[in-house]
Amino acid sequence: MEKYITDLIYLIGSVSFILGLKMLSHPETARKGNLYAAAGMVLAILATIFLDPAIHNIIWIFGGIAIGTVVGWIAAKKVKMTAMPQMVSLFNGMGGACAAVISVVEYTRHDFSHGGGAAFIAIVMAGLIIGTVSFAGSMIAFGKLNGNIGDKVFPGQKFINLVILIAAIGLSYYLSTQHQPENTLLLITLGVAVLYGVMFVMPIGGADMPVVISLLNSFTGIAAALGGFIYNNQVMLTGGILVGSAGTILTIIMCKAMNRSLFNVIAGAFGTTNAAAAGDGAAKGTVKEISISDAAVLLAYSKKVFIVPGYGLAVAQAQHTCHELEKLLEEKGVEVKYAIHPVAGRMPGHMNVLLAESDVPYEKLLEMEEANGEMANTDVSIIIGANDVVNPAARHDKNSPIYGMPILDVDKSANVIIMKRSMAAGYAGIDNELFYYPNNRMLFGDAKASLQKLVTEVKAL
């Protein structure tokens, strides 16, 4: 009887995941979708604990769940909105590690006396490697987004990575053909997989981190699904595969937004083409600065203003000040909208989340195509901490590493103000010719400080 109920609950759990994911892709239903999926998860967990007669150590299980819940809850509630991408990466790593640990235990518990069971061990090893790569990669991605780890590129990296990957697969193949446990080799495989995860993410630039996190997310999904295969457990299988495929598609959508292939991202193309691009020496002109008071006047007497936010806005924690400026300008009769590039920030939708935090109305956030359609009759585009996503070189300079990436055509608006700390290049490491355009002026300084000064100036007008 318990078995029937478990199966039924697992079925409900699987449906709740599918429904949840579906609802998460529409703004009105998204929050409910998340709750549905969470409810399905709780049901599946409770059914596993209470309805499977083979489950013992229930006190310990609840102990582990209690620790995980308290720590996870507090971490998720305390994290700042700007640090969201790191947090998702961290939680993803936990899932990957969980899958890897399961594989290790199942390998050591495997009964070799009836022959090797090659297929079973192959699945266990696949779960081990994918889970471990996801864990190690997520930790590196976390470190990079947190600013603890820089990009590391050295010659022959791709080749070495390939060798490491082949070594991991080779070891797994060897282990699955053996008829007795080889615990030392298992640990070596684990080590190789950690190394691969680290080396895989190390060379990838900060701007590509969203893509990497999404990819690692789908890896963990696949690792979870392999766990479902090991235990003949449908809810793990459906949940895992669903995330694996949805995550992969999301990754591809993100790559498309940058007009790059997934392979290109993984190979770390920005890192390797930097040197060539810098040597091109694009036609330079003069860079004009604008004072705070001039900028305030220009903004306050415009009809239509676009705010183009980027990662710099997140770093400076300037979203609230930004919203304040927007409201102030609206009071003065200026039409203010935000133009959101799909890959602005460190995660797709990062800017939306950030601006939503400071209560910017949903209708004010325009997606790229929509914003570009209105660019020509815009008086001022003010760019806050964004760079590569507004670089016109993407439209015409075939030698530029970002050539072909869809950009926000801010240069088509009558005036451009770029708020930036310095003339430094963006994440792609390339010069932005927009700086030298005649309709552009630079407002140097920290985004938050500059915005505050602008607010004060506009108020005084």
Partner: protein
């Protein structure tokens, strides 16, 4: 070669399930507005926390003298819970902000 075919045949239901799930996953999220990319990624992240079910099985089936399985199982239950709870709570926080500004 025969082994591989035999494996496929033995697990044919699972393989059908996997293939259908792959297409479903693609179908379900292919029309998502970019505004929702981050919450969607985060929500999917929480869903693969279902791996915790495996962790519970590891822990629950560990014999009382199998300390390796007990310790690792306990550890994996914590890791899995972090993934589930952290994932859903973070997603909810993101989406909560979308709600507020809609009124």
């Amino acid at each position: 070669m025969e082994q591989i075919f035999a494996f496929i045949s033995e697990n044919i239901r699972f393989i059908y399930l996997i293939i259908l799930m792959v297409f479903l996953g693609i179908e379900v999220i292919s029309h998502v507005p970019s505004v929702l990319h981050t919450p969607l990624m985060s929500g999917a992240n929480a869903i693969h926390g279902v791996v915790i079910v495996g962790a519970i099985i590891v822990m629950g089936r560990a014999e009382p003298d199998n300390y390796l399985a007990l310790v690792l199982g306990f550890f994996s239950v914590i890791l899995g819970t972090l993934n589930v709870v952290g994932g859903f709570v973070v997603t909810d926080r993101m989406l909560e902000m979308f709600k507020k500004k809609k009124k």
